[in-house]
Point group: C2
Chain length 171, copies 2
């Protein structure tokens, strides 16, 4: 079958669950980005277990604390890009408040605050964190998983865009 | 305050989450079993995080495989009592089928199949396992947490019944 073929490692840069990456690699090649996103949603919500969700969450840097410039992994570089609006709109006091709320959140829920940050200002992210904080742990767990999928979809789009520039050798 | 006072370790025999046991000990003494159950539900569903839920699940023996008679902990003894109907109604073929489905379940969900087994036959437990198996992991996770709370409530009742036999020294 012709199509877009990727390695397990490339899917791991989209979502840090090893089960997700393995199953995506097994399901590829995909005929289009749309097909890959459909498969990703199915694998993430129906096949990856709760431990796999926690594993994927733990791969993210804390919001407002992007990876250092010495981190050259694709995952780290993408995290940095996704937080660029937040960082451009941050003041030292808003970053400090965000850091305090991140700590509070992690103490309550046991995992990092996850949000699809692309295009969001620091104030918007902080408002969302405060709004989600009172949630029950199981409710917040599922919201975080949906945010993880939003991030994953954006990253799959980036992954596909790198392949589209490469002329196909198959035809 | 007069009332029913228990230690952290006693609550740990009711539910294997250390956070649950700590918070219950902090919330005691309780004026009645009803008050203790209300506190337990609030702590379990609102304060214990998802990692705490997984910790509590992992304290249980596999259903159909009660702890050996050499296990003398209160937790193990209670587990055995809760499975007595299941064991009395079991045949070697139903136990084998249950064991196969337990393995299948654990492979899909990453935790043990949890059910409040009191009064349930092996066939009823097996039918419930098969019915729950197709669930999405997050759905099944919440069902398991509700079953854990049912078990915890029965055990709190046992815990209170041991205290009721002791004459109060406070009056």
């Amino acid at each position: 079958m012709e199509g877009f073929k990727f390695e397990e490692e490339e899917f791991l840069a989209c979502c840090g669950s090893t089960k997700f990456a393995k199953e995506m690699a097994k399901a590829s090649p995909f005929s289009s980005l749309h097909d890959a996103v459909t498969a990703a949603r199915d694998i993430w919500f129906n096949n990856v277990d709760v431990t796999g969700w926690l594993q994927a969450f733990s791969a993210h840097p804390q919001i407002g604390n992007p990876p250092s410039s010495s981190s050259h992994s694709t995952f780290a570089q993408w995290s940095k890009g996704e937080q660029s609006t937040a960082l451009a709109t941050a003041t030292s006091s808003s970053l400090q408040e965000l850091s305090q709320w991140n700590t509070k959140y992690r103490e309550k829920f046991g995992f990092i605050f996850l949000i699809c940050a692309s295009g969001k200002s620091t104030d918007e992210i902080l408002a969302e964190l405060k709004k989600r904080y009172p949630n029950r742990p199981i409710v917040e767990f599922e919201i975080a998983a949906k945010e993880e999928m939003k991030v994953t979809e954006l990253r799959l789009e980036k992954l596909f865009s790198t392949k589209e520039n490469v002329p196909s050798t198959g035809s």
